[in-house]
């Protein structure tokens, strides 16, 4: 019994020594993994879009956007299923008026979150801005399958009517 008592601290110390590097590695991976890259991208994006761009510092904003894009791209490279990173990358492309790439990212968001009715809006918008109103309409009609809320459906019908009447907003 006494022998066992002496052995317990030894075993615990051994486990600590063995597991410490693994825990440190896991923590490090978290900081520099998909979430870390996404967070880094958001920092660059926010600096560029909400500080530099409104203040007229266009060149600085463009550099921040470049850094943001790289970080978001790293995030989705690490984790292809990371929906926030795809959403952020889509928004960045849309702001840069690269609607083709924005639509690709937003489509991934919809595929990852088919039950999120709000996810369909930016995809429809990007397609509409590309002049592909028919595809935008299809997206909004698909969004209607993601909800049973009559007010959400009413809102979607309004957007569908807007596209149908105008043949797209572009």
């Amino acid at each position: 019994m006494e022998k066992h008592k002496t052995a317990i601290p030894f075993v615990l110390a051994l486990l600590f020594i063995l597991l410490l590097p693994a825990a440190a590695a896991a923590g490090g991976e978290e900081a520099s993994g998909a979430a870390g890259f996404n967070s880094e991208g958001l920092s660059y994006f926010n600096r560029g879009y909400y500080e530099e761009l409104p203040a007229g510092r266009q060149a600085a904003a463009e550099e921040s956007f470049r850094m943001a894009r790289e970080a978001f791209q790293k995030a989705v490279a690490v984790d292809e299923g990371f929906v926030e990173a795809h959403r952020n990358l889509g928004r960045l492309y849309a702001i840069l008026k690269d609607y083709e790439r924005a639509a690709v990212e937003y489509r991934k968001v919809v595929d990852l979150e088919p039950g999120n009715v709000d996810a369909y809006l930016p995809l429809a918008s990007a397609l509409d801005r590309l002049g592909r109103a028919d595809e935008a309409l299809d997206v909004l009609k698909r969004a209607k399958t993601a909800t049973a809320d009559p007010l959400v459906l009413k809102h979607l019908d309004g957007l569908i009517e807007k596209l149908e009447v105008q043949g797209g907003t572009k």
Partner: protein
């Protein structure tokens, strides 16, 4: 007999009493009433009048919107012709759609266009008071674009403003508040807020309270924000309307404590005169200005303060002449027998009829008649104020039981008429305990 239960009951009672006693300290109600909504008089004095313009929802950037064109007109021809003391633009300065499907901005292009319009028209921070709306706040929690491009944002670095107009006859305080949410949420399809988390947070309420306190010597205080204070009753027209989601009770307490006379807002794109009384001793005129960026009729409003009485009406852009009767006051402004405009005490003699008349072309005649009968009688321009016309009616108008009409001929013929009609008695609004009377828009024009 002392039982544990009794002890607990007494403890609870003591706590409740203590808490009740502490309420005034936790949520102090201002003791000093600043503005006096009951300060209006019915008088033949003609040198106690000034006027200003209210507009809202320019939505610059909206596809096929009229915002840029109407805003340019408002800050150009209308400003030059009406010569208002100031102009207020109560939010949704930009559309945040960049002509697209839904508001997913902010967009620098929209804000640059807005800035070019207001700067190009020579609008200054002491004359043009623009405040943010929900479209200006989507995806921009700090309202960075507003602060960098709106007139008031650039002048103050903030999102709220307070200004005063001092005359020999009185002082008048005005507040521009940021009711837009501060969370930078995106537009959403999800009810009931649709991403529009409107409200007044602690910092915003502190600004408002400090401004009210600093201007408590004002004769009248009027406040402006973008949102309705409460959501209207659910109808086919209002199903997606949003309103304050926090800060309402504190704000109505401040309005009540400091004697605010009017709360003006936009957001709904509808012109409406109501009277808001929820949690208030008497209430405030609750004025909804329509969208200057969307329509021509009822697109903006002209308000006047004459002998401390408020008059207001909606107007059509590019339409002249415009007429606003300022004496006697409309007893049904927002609600039947408005406590601030009905039974206004008479001071002095005579039965004055006064109206402000504006036209970009010379005014050929201004006339009035009483009770829709008899001949139209001439009015005279007041010496020293070419916009103000007066007459002395042959009947006693102080009882507020007569219909007064004024028509002016210039570019065309313009009209005004009071009372505006017979609005319904206040009704309970959608189970919220909010009593609001309503009157249809545009009824001042016969």
């Amino acid at each position: 007999m002392k039982t544990p239960g009794n002890t607990r009951g007494k403890s609870v009672l003591s706590f409740v009493l203590l808490a009740a006693a502490a309420v005034p300290f936790l949520f102090p109600v201002p003791e000093v009433r600043a503005g006096n909504p009951h300060g209006a008089i019915y008088s033949s004095v003609t040198n106690r009048v000034f006027w200003f313009v209210l507009a809202s929802d320019s939505h610059v950037g909206k596809k096929n919107g009229k915002g840029p064109e109407n805003l340019q007109w408002l800050l150009g021809e209308a400003k030059d012709t009406i010569d208002p003391s100031f102009i207020v633009l109560t939010g949704d300065l930009t559309d945040s759609t960049d002509g697209g499907l839904y508001p997913d901005g902010p967009y620098l292009s929209e804000w640059t266009e807005y800035r070019n319009i207001v700067d190009g028209a020579g609008a200054t921070a002491s004359f043009f008071f623009d405040i943010p709306g929900n479209h200006d706040a989507y995806n921009d929690g700090t309202l960075s674009f507003f602060r960098n491009h709106a007139i008031q944002g650039r002048a103050t670095g903030g999102t709220q403003c307070s200004w005063k107009r001092d005359f020999a006859f009185g002082s008048y305080h005005f507040l521009g508040m940021c009711t837009a949410g501060n969370d930078g949420a995106s537009f959403s399809l999800i009810p009931p807020e649709y991403g529009d988390h409107a409200g007044l947070d602690e910092g915003e309420l502190t600004f408002i309270e400090n401004a009210l306190e600093a201007n408590k010597d004002a004769d009248l205080t009027l406040a402006f924000g973008h949102h309705p204070l409460v959501r209207p009753a659910f109808t086919l027209e209002t199903w997606d309307d949003t309103a304050l989601t926090y800060g309402l009770d504190a704000f109505t307490g401040l309005m009540d404590g400091y004697g605010v006379s009017l709360y003006g807002y936009g957001h709904t794109h509808v012109y409406d005169e109501q009277f808001f009384v929820r949690n208030m001793t008497e209430g405030v005129i609750y004025l909804n200005t329509a969208a200057v960026g969307e329509i021509s009729n009822n697109a903006y409003a002209l308000a006047a303060i004459d002998c401390n009485g408020i008059s207001v009406r909606s107007l059509e852009v590019k339409s002249w002449p415009l007429v606003l009767i300022t004496a006697p006051l409309d007893p049904n402004l927002g609600v039947a027998l408005n406590p601030y405009t009905w039974k206004v005490p008479r001071v002095g003699t005579g039965n004055p009829v006064r109206a402000l008349v504006f036209d970009k072309n010379p005014i050929l005649s201004v006339e009035y008649r009483i009770d829709e009968a008899g001949s139209w009688l001439p009015m005279q321009a007041v010496p020293g104020n070419p916009h103000l016309w007066e007459a002395d009616a042959p009947v006693d108008l102080s009882g507020q039981t007569h219909i007064v009409e004024v028509r002016a001929t210039g570019s065309s013929t313009g009209w005004d008429r009071i009372p505006t009609g017979e609005p319904p008695a206040p009704v309970e609004d959608d189970k919220k305990g909010c009593f609001i009377g309503t009157i249809a828009a545009g009824t001042r024009t016969p």
